[in-house]
Symmetry: C2
Subunit: 285 residues, 2 copies
């Protein structure tokens, strides 16, 4: 299949690689060409604009940075939808605004193009190993057509409903993570301050009712002082901002999420924006 692929950052690169390995032809655009070199060496075609990458493709995937990048890549002067043609499917995997996903869906529909919002979870290792969770919104028929492509890089692929539902699901995911991160840090801090052996404490509490992915995977890094990014603080703040905007729009007050966002913003002001989210442990320094 001819596939347009836009955005070959840490996540996109691995995903594109899986599609390439499965025998698909890639038409690439990314802001920094150097980041796509390996894919180009393996036969992908370089395109100078998003529109050019979309022109010949049956399906176009995008995974870029901020919502404004998504908007530019789809709706800008050289955006995908300027060159899209009837029957094409476009899939945005950036974590972005549900409202923007709906807007793109509608604009695409005017051209007979189906748009899916399909943000992912599972980080760089999930992308590399092809085990991402993919949360998909849009028309179900389009989802089913793209499913075999999703399966090349994802393992927990769930159709969540109409346009925007993928992004909303990702927001729900980030909300659950956000508040739990505070709890993980506070449990560790308490244990350390009480003079306990933190590794023994984790052995007691990780597998029971206090257990969580973050406690098992990030708490040991906090203890070791390893704050290298699996997932950047600055990106997490972007996600929490979207989640809070959407919550406010729905008249929902989420005190845990608000607290987490406030704490992470203070952390970023302390210069930790480029650290991994486990750096929240430094908030108390």
């Amino acid at each position: 299949m001819k596939i347009g692929f836009i955005g070959t950052g840490v996540m996109g690169k691995s995903m594109a690689h899986h599609l390439q390995k499965a025998g698909h032809s890639l038409f690439l655009y990314t802001r920094t060409k150097g980041k796509a070199q390996e894919l180009l060496d393996n036969g992908a075609v370089w395109c100078p604009t998003p529109a050019a990458a979309a022109r010949q493709a049956d399906v176009v995937f995008t995974i870029v940075g901020e919502p404004q990048d998504v908007e530019e890549v789809y709706l800008g002067a050289e955006g995908i939808l300027t060159e899209s043609s009837k029957g094409q499917i476009v899939v945005d995997m950036t974590t972005s605004q549900p409202s923007l996903a709906r807007k793109i869906f509608e604009k695409a529909l005017e051209k007979g193009v189906d748009a899916l919002d399909a943000p992912v979870s599972g980080g760089d290792t999930g992308a590399k190993n092809g085990t991402l969770a993919i949360m998909v919104g849009g028309n179900k028929e389009a989802f089913e057509k793209v499913l075999p492509l999703f399966q090349t890089f994802g393992s927990n692929i769930v159709y969540q409903g109409e346009a925007g539902a993928g992004q909303h699901t990702k927001m729900s995911n980030q909300i659950a993570i956000a508040t739990n991160m505070i709890g993980v840090c506070e449990a560790l801090l308490y244990a350390r301050k009480a003079g306990l052996d933190v590794d023994s404490v984790l052995k007691s509490i990780s597998t029971g009712a206090a257990g969580s992915w973050s406690l098992s995977n990030l708490a040991p890094r906090m203890v070791k002082g390893d704050f290298a990014p699996g997932f950047y603080v600055k990106h997490f703040i972007k996600d929490m901002k979207i989640a809070i905007e959407e919550s406010e729009r729905m008249g929902l007050e989420l005190p845990g999420l608000s607290l987490a966002k406030k704490m992470y913003e203070e952390l970023a002001l302390q210069g930790e924006g480029e650290s991994g989210t486990q750096a929240l442990f430094k908030y108390w320094n």
Copy 2:
């Protein structure tokens, strides 16, 4: 072995039963004799006071309600330590104050008695199935002597250090749970308000970075409107109060824990003290 057992509530009853099944002789005291009937029918000896239950025992277990109950049972006029004799080991499994655990340890030591603090996690099902997590503070030699008894009702049994360390570990456990409960509720609320199919959302988010014991086990109950107690709101508030007192004593500010305590206290004021902790979902009603 001759074992004193004090407190045959939901948890204590199952634990005492495991000890009985393993062939040990039980000397029982509990506030409401009727709750011990099954154990008495199986050959346990009824004792009219904690002191009487302790008199003949090699090891005494206690699992009662509040810290003041622990204090009464150990240090009261008819308390265990009035009748304890050299070489005995006493084990408090109530979730209680680390400072009280140290006080009991010292008072016991004056009599040549070893005291362990050994709170548990895993709820009524863990007690029934003999799979409790047990977090133990006190002298290591005493821990090793009691270990075979712990093994009759526990599976993740970890020695955490000197007297009070078991209670501190349990506090760390409750702190991790407290804040995560807010996140679980908020993620679900967001999903529901956004019009998503909440079961599909849980399918997407439960196994990844947002995953937790509470998300897997309590979120489905919230969705179903099942607020029956696995663990009571009122007991959770007691635990959080202890954790906050201890944190303040150590000069540690835990904003997530403070928020959780405030929310649970409001929930109790709404009449949910006897509900399970997943009733936090009703906070937003």
